[in-house]
Amino acid sequence: MEKFHSCKGLVAPLDRANIDTDAIIPKQFLKSIKRSGFGQNLFDEWRYLDHGEPGMDVTQRRLNPDFILNQPRYRGAQILLARANFGCGSSREHAPWALQDYGFRAIIAPSFADIFFSNCFKIGLLPIVLDTNIVDRIFHEVNSTEGYCLTVNLEKQTVTTPSGEICTFDVDPFRKHCLLNGLDEIGLTLQYADKIKAFEEKRRTEQPWLFA
């Protein structure tokens, strides 16, 4: 997993609630058996005017000039600003993969769907929950200020605006620890292999029908 410590980045605003994982990465791209390369199809149906299929050369496709990420001022954005319930819908990890592959390192929203939220942590993409009022204000500032950047510091759990305002956010200590150090969770869990085996043996004795 990629480490995340801090990041100062351009912010792109996606002013819409309930953005689902089908919108983030449409299903036709889920046919890939790889883990990379999804960035070019992030928000495919909103981003391009033609219909995308896997294997198409995206440089030949027509961009939708109205879609926010296609506006030159948001090119190279590293922080995505979104509305409530971001990432609802399917469990596809392809959604965080696509966001990360596109270049995003953090997503700020008033709330996230549960599975999406936990998937992000597994790959080193930081989902940040900020109060609705604060998100509202940042939307306002981003829209009115070209080149608007935020600084995210995971260690301190802060988001700092250009004017120096500091907003703090919550993060589970364990998830923070893994992210800061880019730890392999499977490796960590396997440190408890003996405990897992003991648990399993007990279960096998008490509920043998689970081990048919």
């Binding site: 002013d15 819409r16 609630a17 309930n18 689902d20 089908d22 919108a23 449409p26 299903k27 036709q28 889920l30 046919k31 890939s32 058996i33 790889k34 883990r35 149906e45 896997p54 294997g55 509305r83 409530a84 319930n85 609802c88 819908g89 399917s90 469990s91 596809r92 990890e93 392809h94 965080p96 709330s111 996230f112 769907a113 549960d114 599975i115 936990s118 998937n119 597994k122 790959i123 589970d172 200590p173 364990f174 998830r175 969770e185 499977i186 869990t189 396997l190 408890y192 292999a193 405990k195 897992i196 648990f199 399993e200 279960r203 509920q207 043998p208 029908w209 689970l210 081990f211 048919a212």
Partner: protein, 469 residues
């Protein structure tokens, strides 16, 4: 005192840091269901790290999302879909994982075959790289969808690192009206609490209306817990649960059966326990539900109208509603019964079980689909459901009414195979998501129950099934 969720959680905790401040625990996984879309990268990850699956007999694999629903003897024509299914076959063969292959009679949608085989049993933790794993909670399981990193983690360690959710009870009391189904309860709940209403919660469905539901209907209800934002939905064990499981291939037999049943009977919330949140619904007041927008919470009743954004004060909400209506090609205040349809889809892990098909067949029997319906299809949830339906002559009823009778799979629920809507086409669908493009780019989805979809097929527009039954 404990909720059902507390019991399921606690009985699976392998390890907890002594500092429990963040509520994270390592949970043991009893059953891991695997399908072709979310597993290839997990198997590759295992391979790259030189790891092996921890416990093979906990895993059951099936290809469902990409498979064609038409004649299968020539395999899958789309080379990318084919490669994904072949990759699953190969991974299962290499590692010795039990898989129901595409032409196996037991193949079907992963959430249909788990219960059908008795591979889903009360008291289990059940995971799958698929959000509708909540379906299995109907059996008093802790069942939830996971991402691909977690698929790999579960394969490698038989455990997942999880944060305990809060417990919500959805209490549905009273008797459901004629023609009103579990699908309508699910949509009514989502309409009430919103698609984020259950975020951070595990939902237990309870109350007399829920206890009266069959297992199949309970699965429909738990299936859509995720659409209410909850990763898991669940229902306590009772006789209906136990009767359903008895005799299924993976279910315990003989002495073990008795022992298992005795344990399963304890899987319910203790009397008087408190939930962090309780939502109440009066079953007698629930009418057939229909979604009009691009999120399952954008729902109304069959006698309702498309809402008017001009009436909405909140700017973000109004904006979302306007966008949804534009996408759906609907004018504000249109009566729901005036919405005309192009296609009908009866299927998906929400509503493709034998009872769903029986109920829909009952409505179309002796009738024919309307002239404006370009395609009406029935996609059974599994090969065994299909077989059973054919034994009962349901296929004939559907075919005679002008429906296509297909092979099992996810099909037009998410249109990863060839079954999809053309841009602008409008579909009455028994699936669970009406997101933009879900059933094909530009396609317009209205979520309904199987009987409402069947009635719409016959009428060519939405109609109250209670009037034509």
């Amino acid at each position: 005192m404990q909720t059902l969720y507390d019991k399921l959680w606690q009985s699976h905790v392998v390890h907890e840091e002594s500092d429990k401040s963040d509520g994270m625990a390592l949970l043991y996984i009893d059953r891991h269901l695997v399908h072709e879309v979310t597993s290839p990268q997990a198997f590759e990850g295992l391979r790259l790290a030189g790891r092996k699956p921890w416990r093979l007999d906990s895993i059951l694999a099936v290809a469902d999302h990409n498979v064609p629903t038409t004649e299968r003897s020539h395999g899958i024509s789309d080379p990318i879909s084919r490669l994904q299914v072949e990759t699953l076959d190969q991974n299962c063969a290499d590692l010795g994982i039990t898989e129901f292959k595409m032409n196996d009679l037991r193949q079907g949608i992963v959430h249909v075959i788990g219960p059908e085989q008795g591979a889903t049993l009360p008291g289990m933790t059940v995971v799958c790289g698929d959000s509708h794993t909540s379906t299995h909670g109907a059996f008093a399981c802790l069942a939830f969808g996971i991402g691909t990193s977690e698929v790999e983690h579960a394969l490698a360690t038989q455990c997942l690192l999880l944060k305990k959710a809060k417990a919500m009870q959805v209490l549905v009391e009273g008797q459901l009206g004629y023609g009103v189904t579990a699908k309508d309860i699910a949509l009514a709940v989502i309409g009430k609490i919103g698609t984020a209403g259950g975020t951070g919660y595990a939902i237990e469905f309870a109350g007399s209306a829920v206890r009266a539901l069959s297992m199949e209907a309970r699965m429909t209800l738990c299936n859509m817990a995720i659409e209410a934002g909850a990763r898991a939905g669940m229902i306590a064990v009772d006789d209906i649960t136990i009767d359903y499981i008895k005799g299924r291939p993976f279910a315990p037999k003989g002495e073990l059966w008795e022992k298992a049943v005795a344990y399963w009977r304890t899987l319910k919330s203790d009397e008087g326990v408190t939930f962090e949140q309780v939502i109440r619904l009066d079953a007698t007041q629930i009418k057939p539900q229909i979604t009009w927008g691009t999120s399952p919470e954008m729902v109304t009743t069959v006698d309702g109208r498309v809402p008017d954004p001009a009436q909405i004060a909140d700017a973000v909400k109004r904006h979302d509603m306007e966008r949804a209506l534009k996408y759906m090609g609907l004018a504000p205040n249109t009566p729901i019964s005036e919405i005309r349809l192009d296609k009908i889809f009866i299927g998906s892990c929400t509503n493709s079980r034998i009872e769903d098909l029986r109920a829909a067949a009952e409505v179309v029997k002796g009738r024919h689909i309307a002239a404006n319906i370009k395609l009406a299809m029935v996609v059974p949830g599994s090969g065994l459901v299909k077989h059973q339906a054919e034994q009962e002559g349901l296929d004939r009823i559907f075919r005679d009414a002008g429906f296509e009778w297909r092979e099992p799979g996810c099909s037009m629920c998410l249109a990863m195979n060839d079954d999809r809507l053309a841009p602008g086409e409008r579909c009455a669908s028994t699936s669970n998501r009406n997101f933009e493009g879900r059933q094909g780019p530009g396609g317009r989805t209205h979520l309904v129950s199987p009987v409402m979809a069947a009635a719409a097929a016959v009428a060519g527009h939405f109609v109250d099934v209670r009037e034509i039954y």
